[in-house]
Symmetry: C2
Subunit: 762 residues, 2 copies
């Protein structure tokens, strides 16, 4: 660390990640490394049955296993907590299964032992008798299936718009969202062309390389929870709610995360571990294995039907979207995805007549929740595949078709919200330039054919929401930031330190950042939805400005020149020694109008818009169906980049993650049981899967509401990847795939079908 | 915990200590219990020589000891830190001895091993050759001794009034303080009587039952120090200064303390452990033994000469005081004691002509520092023994003599500061009433004679000083206080929670208190000098008021009635869910005028005055000299008591501690070596030493500057104990003791001398 460099701007500088050295030297703290004196390790016994009534749990063998301290079941949870169900949107998920199980892999019992291997061995000896029940796995079937996952809906009360669902029975629909704008039927009637296509996405996994892990430590009428969580404030309030405690009796501490991507939101292991620790009165740790991540939280499979009316000039004049979200056995945040992403289902296009019907469905699969994009990549997959199919059908260049229809600044989006600071047009043009769309393109020859595709998506940010931050200036001018944003690899510590540094005229390297600890770091809604740079960034900026204003007031009080008096001198004059500190506080609550329940309309549906577009070039082997993405171009509007290097890694990181979801990743099931629950059989992208050329560009934008013009960019790279690849494959070899993942086998089958060749296994 | 009881006052309620259950169940965290992975234990080799030049340190045998990781000496410290000397007033104390040793017991080398027993055994094998130097042990001799402890004075620069001492050579006087008021010589000239007496106090120990302990944990360019410290903010800035680091790279965390009493202020083991951890790059723990406390910090022995001129009516018209403080080998905070207590040396009496000369002296004894009273008990010992001796000599009742001379509200004290909110007269009268001073008193018979004595003292509080606090109100109305006050047994967590509760209308039991952690709790000067209730209490009150004002503003913003809207409803209306928090910040810097260097005068020398008086009844065995304190009455002005039960335990706790210093405790030396460094040979009061009757009374007072009229009371019980006992002994058997401790042997010898009987050993 060097002396403050007052003159150097901190915003727009690619400051090295603050934690880089700590991570490289192995000094960065993770919950996985935490060992407390007298700590017990817990291992779970899980249901092999997808839907069934529990007749009997026999824990005798496990209890008798040498070294086992205790075996807990749902009834132990019920003895501690009268209604031991948690969840951010619905209180539907039991800490351990009660009465019935709703998916294969659901936790049924917890074995505690001082040695984790003992606990694991004993957990395998637990015998459970089930009365199996009919199960439902498909999201569309779930609409009408007689197999009902939950007898009664139990909305959490957190969201006022879910309240009307309380007590609803015999339905798998956790939430239905509807949007109506203009006169859709009439517009379809006068359309020159009407297109309707159905798309499907598969169930996939977040795969943070650090699996779920939680340690709970009982204190005197208090509980400290060390957890790899993206939402420490939520963990605190939800655990307090379950226990009937005041929030200040629960302390949640979060060190670094080895990735989150939405998996580590809300409650995962925390309620289980907290309850177990209170029951056995000693610290308890549960660390999930990689396999167990498949049984904990996933990304929604979805079926998307999209129908567009296009006029003779290629303008979209009507669009109807139906989306069925496969939420699995427990709602998690799925209903919010249904609603919050639902209103962008028609895409970033200027369409006067729109209808959206979006359904969150319970099925007997592992629960699905937020995953980097919060439903947007599924929607973009549909509407950007659909866009190319229309363009192709009406003989228009796909870029031209998008140009003609793109939502421009000042025009209303489907909800009625007028677009502001969403550089859709600019992002599309920069992508076209990067792709040299109008220049000749080598289409390959013989069996290796080349193609290219583009896609563009957009996303609203989350509301209602709030962030609070504290900035402390010490007597030697060093600064400390207290903020609840979780640095899970995205570099938030660094970006927040840059904001503090910019305001206070201090190098970002000199600002230390205290990690989330609900006793001391102020409230933050959660680290999700690319909200931190904007929301927490604004709170941090205000906190730093508050500290700066107090320093200026101190200088004025002392009669010292604020511009030329070093901060340490202010303190020395005030206190007669190097003593005291100045504390700035800032909070941020964006303005927001919820969508109207009947019409889906809102005049201010989001604090800011994210825009991301992807272009790809592929080469396809027409004999084998094998294809390769040879070039991947990501362009996004991130407003003013606080740290350009971090923005670039966010863009390429998001795109590569989505590349895996687009081309290889897929959870496979037999009777509801995952059959490929290991990284040996579930293929995430490795270094050899990287496109030969990856380019990232943040268009010069300015988000008027963001700190120094910045906005979030953590998800923007994911939006367009899947449809851009499908569009490129069709461009190369003329086949259209409508279901993810886009595998060599799928291309091969489509090519055979196109050529009228029978398939061996058909 | 129950629901908030808005109507119940929190101030003046004897709330149960918040930590009571945690301490009783063994769950309260202490640094002694902290074990970190890969931690090394350090044990010290210490000098047997009181003053000597180090010729050679042979660490070979220790290094070769199986299991030893590393052996460090002063030269290793110098390699890490160019000038490895620390101290709050003078940078005079080396982390490990360099070139020479200045007292027997000074740390010379540190042995590190994974097993503390290995480290201890190895430490004993370190051989050091010394060239012994002449030593000085007596504080009066040190004024003129040729044995010079420090070649050069190195004031810390913390205190501007020490700066002129920098570089002074060949003196043992670390600081001399002088006060002149009126014309002392003239007043002595016209006095009816002049009395001069000399008193002595012995060197004693704090004896916290938790000895010194520190753990340091190196991080990535950072260092976390877990330490049993009363001054976490000082530890942070001093370690940062030594390392040349910014303060935010050093994190100091303090859990509960098992007593402090002034011993755990400033730097004790922290610099050593921090440096060792940085050198070996892994966590290091050093835990002192009870014996080692004798070599770390003690209470000043002092010689006090006091001379008074009294007129024919018994009014004191002139007083001259000379005080020599035996600071031992390193200054610690001793020079501040010399100055801060020096100006009260003439006692709480209304005397127009005063002279004080007070000297802080270096000697070759273990260092002396602050101990519950910061020099005041030594001064009261002198001036209240002197008071009785004068009263007896002029034939006046000792109560009447005090009544006639006591400083009344609105009159100037020796510094010129006008007395405000110091209930000296009321405390004296309440003590007289409690003692039934004017009623007949059973004086015993035969060999068992009874007597009684009183004494009254006062103390200024510390300045300049500052405290900062943060109060967080959570969305469920539970509150958290972040404050740097160390709860070392005095119950500060509870009292601070009561202040927060009173302001916010919440039960104190529902306010959680975060313990000092310099990364998150704001600056506080230190927990010392009974300053916390007043200084931090004011900061906490302001922080709570700031939070309350923000809640009221929120209600106004939302158009809700502030008096009838529950806090959770405010948050729900604001954020649409149970989210967010409100953060209040408060800081407090009392007004203060330093004493003038030449005259010792100040118009505002203290934020508030503490007043404490003690009355005792004794029974003395005239044959053996054995005496017993049968009744101990403590009366103090604590302003408005925030928690009456805590005030009572502070009063009796202070008095009992001082009872030990008065009657049994005494460090014994041979050639500068402590000869009774164990609790087997150094006698602290046990349950059987308690007076049969102990009474505590806080007079109804009101401190206008304090939070809800409160002020500190942690030291007031100590002031009068020693002279009250000596006065009672003289009252019983007619002998006057002028040196502490007041032992049976001393009484016996005095009785024999009075009767003209030779002593066997004379």
């Amino acid at each position: 660390m060097s002396a403050p460099r007052d003159s150097e701007p901190q915003i727009g500088r690619s400051v090295l990640r603050k934690e880089a050295r700590a991570k490289l030297t192995g000094r960065a703290p993770y919950v996985h490394n935490l060992v407390l004196p007298g700590m017990l390790y817990g291992k779970l016994a899980r249901s092999p049955v997808a839907h069934g009534r529990i007749r009997h749990i026999d824990t005798a063998a496990a209890r008798d296993h040498p070294g086992v301290h205790r075996v807990l079941t749902g009834e132990d949870m019920r003895a501690l907590i009268p209604d031991p169900h948690y969840g951010p949107a619905f209180h539907d998920q039991p800490i351990l299964a009660l009465d019935k199980v709703r998916y294969a892999g659901e936790p049924v019992a917890l074995v505690l032992a001082a040695d984790p291997h003992v606990a694991e061995a004993a957990a395998q000896s637990i015998e459970v008798e089930y009365d199996e029940l009919p199960a439902v796995y498909d999201e569309v079937e779930a609409m009408t299936s007689k197999a009902v996952v939950h007898e009664t809906l139990k909305p959490a009360g957190t969201f006022p718009d879910l309240k009307h669902l309380a007590g609803k029975r015999d339905t798998n629909i956790a939430l239905d969202f509807h949007l109506r704008r203009g006169d859709v039927a009439a517009a379809f009637g006068r359309a020159a062309h009407v297109f309707e296509h159905t798309f499907k996405t598969q169930q996939v996994l977040h795969v943070p390389l650090e699996p779920f892990v939680t340690v709970a430590e009982p204190g005197d009428g208090r509980l400290t929870i060390h957890t790899a969580s993206q939402s420490p404030s939520f963990v605190r309030s939800e655990i307090a709610r379950l226990l009937g405690w005041a929030e200040n009796r629960v302390r949640v501490q979060v060190p670094f995360l080895g990735g989150g991507f939405g998996a580590k939101l809300y409650i995962k292991l925390e309620a289980l571990v907290a309850a177990a620790a209170l029951i056995v009165r000693c610290p308890v740790k549960v660390a999930a294995s990689m396999e167990e991540q498949f049984y904990t939280l996933t990304k929604h499979a979805a079926t998307l039907r999209i129908k567009s009316g296009v006029d003779a000039n290629g303008r979209i004049i009507a669009r109807a979207c139906e989306v069925w979200w496969n939420g699995g056995a427990y709602a998690d945040i799925g209903p919010r995805i249904t609603q919050k992403s639902g209103f962008t289902a028609p895409g970033p296009y200027d369409i006067d007549n729109v209808a959206v019907d979006s359904y969150a469905l319970y099925t007997n699969l592992p629960p699905a929740g937020a995953l980097r994009g919060f439903g947007i990549p599924q929607l973009v997959w549909a509407y950007e595949s659909h866009a190319d199919m229309i363009a192709r059908a009406i003989g228009m260049d796909p870029l031209e078709f998008r140009r003609k229809n793109i939502l421009r600044e000042g025009r209303p989006q489907a909800t009625g919200t007028v677009m502001r600071d969403a550089a859709l047009g600019e992002v599309l043009e920069r992508l076209a330039q990067r792709m040299r769309w109008n220049e000749p393109f080598d289409r390959g020859s013989a069996a290796l054919r080349r193609g290219r595709g583009i896609a563009i998506g957009f996303k609203a940010s989350i509301s209602p929401t709030t962030s609070v931050a504290i900035v402390t200036v010490n007597a030697d001018a060093s600064c400390t930031l207290l903020c609840g944003t979780v640095d899970m690899g995205q570099g938030s510590d660094t970006a927040m330190a840059q904001i503090v540094g910019e305001v206070l005229g201090v190098a970002a390297e000199q600002v230390s950042v205290v990690h989330p600890d609900t006793d001391v770091t102020p409230y933050d809604m959660a680290t999700l939805g690319s909200r931190s740079t904007y929301h927490m960034g604004n709170a941090v900026r205000r906190a730093a400005e508050d500290a700066r204003d107090k320093l200026l007031a101190l200088a004025a009080e002392l009669g010292l020149a604020p511009e030329t008096t070093p901060i340490p001198d202010l303190f020395r004059h005030k206190y007669g020694m190097q003593a005291g500190n100045v504390i700035g506080m800032g909070s941020f609550v964006p303005a927001y109008t919820p969508t109207d329940h009947a019409s889906g309309q809102s005049d201010n549906v989001t604090p800011f818009w994210m825009v991301g577009a992807t272009g790809v070039e592929v080469v396809v082997d027409t004999e084998t169906g094998h294809f390769e993405v040879t070039r991947l171009v990501n362009v996004a509007d991130c407003g003013e980049a606080i740290n350009p290097a971090l923005v670039a890694t966010q863009l390429s990181g998001g795109a590569i993650m989505q590349l895996g979801f687009s081309t290889s990743e897929q959870m496979l099931f037999r009777d509801g049981q995952v059959t490929n629950a290991s990284l040996a059989e579930y293929k995430i992208p490795g270094m050899l899967d990287m496109p030969a050329r990856i380019e990232n560009e943040a268009v010069a934008g300015n988000e008027r509401g963001g700190p120094f013009g910045a906005k979030g960019v953590g998800e923007s790279g994911t939006f367009g990847v899947s449809p851009a690849i499908a569009n490129a494959i069709e461009d190369a070899v003329g086949v259209r795939l409508s279901a993810l993942p886009l595998t060599a086998e799928a291309v091969y089958r489509a090519l055979r079908a196109k050529r009228g060749e029978p398939l061996e296994d058909a």
